[in-house]
């Protein structure tokens, strides 16, 4: 169903763009990385590392990579309706081209303080306060916080979201409510791998890899995060307050309503629910951004086995914006606890990460970011593959993004 929807949307964009080229706006970037990574191997290669890049056996410590290219097209269908699609090229995806988002938005103009809008398609739930750039990138750092790394990996609203705004002279309020499907596996990575810090956003047709050490679904090391398993819709609802000169506060409750006993094509449904909080403030050139998330995910595939993973994370990002230069420092903390009935699975983790990034913007179309991450984590699951439970990982990256 998702493929048909996206194919239709793509065809719509193509047909309309030829007729109304002046109504389409295209933006994007190409991303190059010079990096130096230490062990252990990244979870993306099945390892027990928590970062996008890790030095596994045979890997070179220093690498140069063409990381990805991303292109987003916005088509104005009428004054009230726009269609948006974001396509990414990455040779390490299951398909070299994949879509991160594709949706239509209807937002009629309002000459009162109230305005409403509705989105339908596939898009990120409004959780991240970091990912405000083209292609869901972050202006401050290359790598998102643990919270938004997970949002990029396992959460996508494939459904519809309604928003009501109240616009005051100084204050603004927003209320949102969404119904969606195709998100039943969300939570599998948090349970099987735990938190991570990585900017490898999962495309709509891509697969997420579970660690080699995982005890869940040993027959399915790669799972499709965006699929329907129990035919039950999930929902989220949130509120955001923003005040000029002060900042913003937001709260969101997410529940995918999955049936934890459901299974389809070897994939389990994970009942995942959480609270998400966010706050942003600043003064002059300084910006402070903070988010927190806590919730749980559950599977109950057989009468003899049940697993509940509780998860928590929070971060604080301090940014200093000097127009041509940006400096950012972020501290992440995260933890997970597992209660398993019927199987003795080593479980649970805790960790913290410090990220420092310096960004140079010599011209509008170019961004150069030097970033260092030190991640210190403890996860007992590592003993399954005879690794010590504690790992301290460091990665230094120089990211060059060329925008168009």
């Amino acid at each position: 169903m998702i493929r048909i929807t996206l194919a239709l949307l793509g065809a719509l964009i193509l047909i309309s763009s030829t007729a109304m080229a002046q109504e389409m706006h295209v933006e994007g970037y190409a991303d190059f990385r010079f990096l130096s990574a230490g062990p252990p191997d990244s979870f993306l290669d099945g390892g027990v590392g928590k970062l996008r890049f890790g030095q596994g056996e045979g890997d070179q410590a220093q690498q140069f990579q063409f990381a990805e290219a991303s292109m987003a097209a916005t088509l104005l269908l009428t004054g009230d309706v726009l269609a948006y699609a974001n396509i990414r090229y990455d040779s390490r995806q299951r398909t070299a081209l994949d879509a991160l988002e594709a949706y239509a938005r209807y937002r009629p103009v309002s000459v009162s303080r109230w305005r409403w809008s509705v989105k339908a398609g596939a898009f990120f739930p409004p959780i991240s306060l970091e990912n405000t750039g083209i292609g869901w990138t972050i202006p401050w750092t290359l790598t998102p916080s643990a919270i938004n790394s997970w949002v990029g990996e396992e959460l996508r609203t494939i459904g519809s979201e309604a928003k009501i705004e109240w616009r005051g002279d100084v204050d603004r309020m927003e209320w949102i409510f969404a119904l969606y499907g195709l998100d039943d596996p969300a939570g599998a990575l948090l349970a099987a791998r735990g938190w991570s810090l990585n900017d490898r956003i999962t495309g709509l047709f891509d697969l997420n890899r579970l660690p080699n050490a995982t005890e869940y679904n040993p027959s399915a090391r790669r799972i499709h995060p965006f699929r329907e398993i129990d035919d039950r819709p999930g929902w989220y609802s949130g509120v955001r307050w923003r005040s000029e000169g002060i900042g913003s506060l937001e709260l969101l409750r997410y529940d995918n309503q999955a049936n934890p006993s459901a299974r389809r094509d070897g994939q389990l449904a994970w009942r995942t629910s959480f609270w998400s909080l966010g706050a942003e403030t600043g003064y002059d050139d300084f910006v402070l951004i903070s988010q927190a998330m806590f919730g749980e995910t559950e599977i109950d595939p057989t009468p003899q086995f049940n697993a509940i993973t509780k998860f928590q994370s929070a971060y604080l990002l301090a940014g200093y914006d000097l127009t041509d230069w940006r400096l950012a420092a972020r501290v992440d903390g995260y933890a997970a606890q597992q209660q398993n009935a019927g199987r003795n699975v080593p479980a649970g983790e805790h960790g913290d990460a410090v990220t420092l990034a310096l960004t140079w913007l010599p011209i509008e179309a170019l961004r150069v970011t030097a970033e260092g991450i030190r991640n210190n984590s403890w996860r007992l699951q590592r003993t399954v593959v005879e690794e010590p439970p504690r790992a301290v990982e460091t990665v230094f990256q120089l990211g060059v993004r060329v925008f168009f």
């Binding site: 002046q22 109504e23 706006h25 933006e27 970037y29 987003a72 916005t74 104005l76 004054g79 009230d80 726009l82 948006y84 937002r107 103009v109 309002s110 000459v111 009162s112 303080r113 405000t132 750039g133 083209i134 990138t137 202006p139 616009r167 002279d169 100084v170 005040s243 000029e244 000169g245 600043g282 002059d284 050139d285 910006v287 914006d321 127009t323 041509d324 913007l361 509008e364 179309a365 961004r367 993004r401 925008f403």
Partner: protein, 212 residues
């Protein structure tokens, strides 16, 4: 009445009934970093109310997804027309209590003239491009001016007397008391400076932010 007597009477009437048109105010506006502040509006209220200028028509253009002015100063009773010089549609709108309107403008189109008959500030946005914003300052006095790119405001030909100079800018930090200076205008120009506490532009730079 003989013509010569009529001329003397007219001259006397002008001399004794008109105020002395000598005062002028020059105000230099800077932000807290010392940079000049453009697009601030300074309005004088006080001893002599300034007559509203005769009706004028104004045009705000839209080009490169930006309104041609960030702040437009007009007088009560003036009208404003929005013109779209871009290759994309714009949907100008305002929910201001002083004037509510909305016009979907195709490339090359103009809105009808919008008459603004009450003093105050009308914020105008584009419902398609959220970052586009302009402000129309509707003044009920002729003693008002907008600061230039050098941060300078000059109000000329004001009758001598004591006035309050009210300073407004769209990015003034909310919650603070109104910025106002008492000035006494006489035969010589009065020069003042004022520091404005403004909200920073965010994001500051970079071509990496989503447009829609």
């Amino acid at each position: 009445m003989k013509p010569i007597l009529a001329l003397v009477a007219t001259v006397c009437l002008l001399l004794f009934s008109s105020p002395v048109w000598a005062g002028s105010l020059i105000l230099q506006l800077t932000d807290s970093d010392g940079n000049p502040v453009s697009d601030a509006v300074v309005k004088l209220t006080g001893d002599t109310p300034g007559a509203v200028l005769s009706h004028q028509s104004h045009i705000i253009d839209q080009r490169d997804e930006t309104f041609s002015v960030y702040v437009l100063l007009i007088s009560v009773g003036d009208d404003v027309t929005f013109r779209n010089s871009d290759q994309t549609r714009h949907h100008v709108y305002s929910f201001s209590p002083l004037g509510q309107f909305e016009y979907l403008l195709a490339p090359g189109e103009k809105s009808p003239p919008i008459l603004l008959s009450k003093p105050g500030v009308v914020a105008v946005g584009c419902n398609i491009h959220d970052r586009m914003i302009t402000h129309i300052y509707v003044s009920d006095t002729a003693w008002a001016a907008r600061s230039d790119p050098q941060g300078q405001v000059e109000i000329k030909d004001v009758p001598n007397g004591t006035y309050v100079a009210h300073i407004w800018h769209p990015k003034l930090r909310p919650g603070k008391p109104e910025l106002a200076e008492t000035v006494t205008l006489g035969d010589s120009p009065v020069k003042l400076s004022s520091v404005l506490q403004l909200l920073p532009d965010r994001p500051k730079s970079g071509g990496e932010y989503r447009r829609y």
